[in-house]
């Protein structure tokens, strides 16, 4: 069976509105469009819950360096980081330059705000630190424990224990930090 309008097979004009469609639209062909708006999501490669892509978002967040994992004092220097959230995965990038640590507690661990809190899985990401003590270690990286809303920086070297970067290791006004990390939410 086919639909013929004005002598043409198929629906070519006028536009078809399916806003009142209450049942599934099924096709064995392809669906082509400029944009699609879905209040739910799209199943890819199957119909299980694990196949459902239900969120995508791009945005920014204000990056703060703190001297505590919750509350605490923030550095005067802030910047804007960028993120992309795809399903339960967040990829984020931040750059803090010339961090002014005035007023922060030097002996405390340093933490950096995130756009989303992590879920029950901790994650590790790339980090570059300029003008910062590594306390005898060599390899800096970003680490966010499970259920945290802030990440921290850790350093490690062969045959040494892990150490967490403290505020006092930074050189106020000159330290730069770059972090690129992917984590679950």
């Amino acid at each position: 069976m086919s639909i013929v309008l004005d002598g043409t097979t198929g629906i070519t004009t006028p536009d078809v509105s399916v806003t009142a469609q209450s049942s599934d639209i099924v096709t064995s062909g392809n669906i082509e469009a400029v944009n699609a708006t879905l209040s739910g999501g799209v199943y890819v490669g199957g119909t299980a819950a694990a196949n459902l892509l239900d969120d995508y978002e791009e945005g920014t967040w204000t990056v703060y360096a703190y001297d505590a994992a919750s509350g605490g004092t923030a550095a005067a220097t802030t910047t804007t980081g960028s993120y992309t959230k795809i399903g339960n995965i967040v990829r984020m990038w931040l750059q803090l330059t010339n961090i002014d640590t005035t007023g922060m507690s030097a002996g405390n661990y340093m933490f950096i705000s995130l756009p989303f809190a992590t879920n029950s899985i901790s994650s590790v990401g790339q980090a570059v630190l300029n003008n910062t003590s590594y306390n005898g270690r060599t390899n800096p990286y970003a680490y966010v424990p499970a259920s945290y809303s802030r990440c921290r920086l850790q350093v490690q070297a062969e045959s040494t224990t892990i150490d967490i970067v403290e505020v006092g290791w930074l050189t106020s006004g000159t330290t730069d930090i770059y972090v690129n990390m992917t984590y679950e939410v």
């Binding site: 978002e57 791009e58 945005g59 920014t60 967040w61 204000t62 994992a69 919750s70 509350g71 993120y83 661990y109 705000s113 995130l114 756009p115 989303f116 809190a117 901790s122 590790v124 680490y143 424990p145 499970a146 259920s147 945290y148 809303s149 802030r150 850790q154 224990t161 892990i162 150490d163 967490i164």
Partner: protein, 85 residues
């Protein structure tokens, strides 16, 4: 023609551990038609100062960031303070 920039908290999510995730949308509207929209995020964790937040975020934080929730969050944080991966 009128162009208007609108900034609104358009999504507030409360996580199980009490973290409140806030999304702020910035919209450019021309004669009532939205031309663009961008998002800005932040998280208010239990124990954080939320006095400068949007009124609805403050209300939610006041309801969810109880002493018990803050204590539980702090305990979880301290448990993860030891360097490790």
């Amino acid at each position: 023609m009128s162009l208007e920039k609108q900034t609104v908290v358009d999504k507030i999510e409360v996580l199980e551990n009490g973290c409140v995730q806030v999304r702020t949308a910035t919209r450019i509207v021309e004669d009532g038609v939205q031309l663009s929209q961008s998002y800005h995020r932040h998280v208010v964790a239990p124990g954080d100062d939320y006095s400068g937040e949007d009124a609805r975020v403050q209300a939610i934080c006041a309801a969810t960031h109880t002493a018990e929730v803050i204590a539980a969050y702090q305990a979880a944080i301290e448990a993860a303070q030891v360097g490790g991966i």
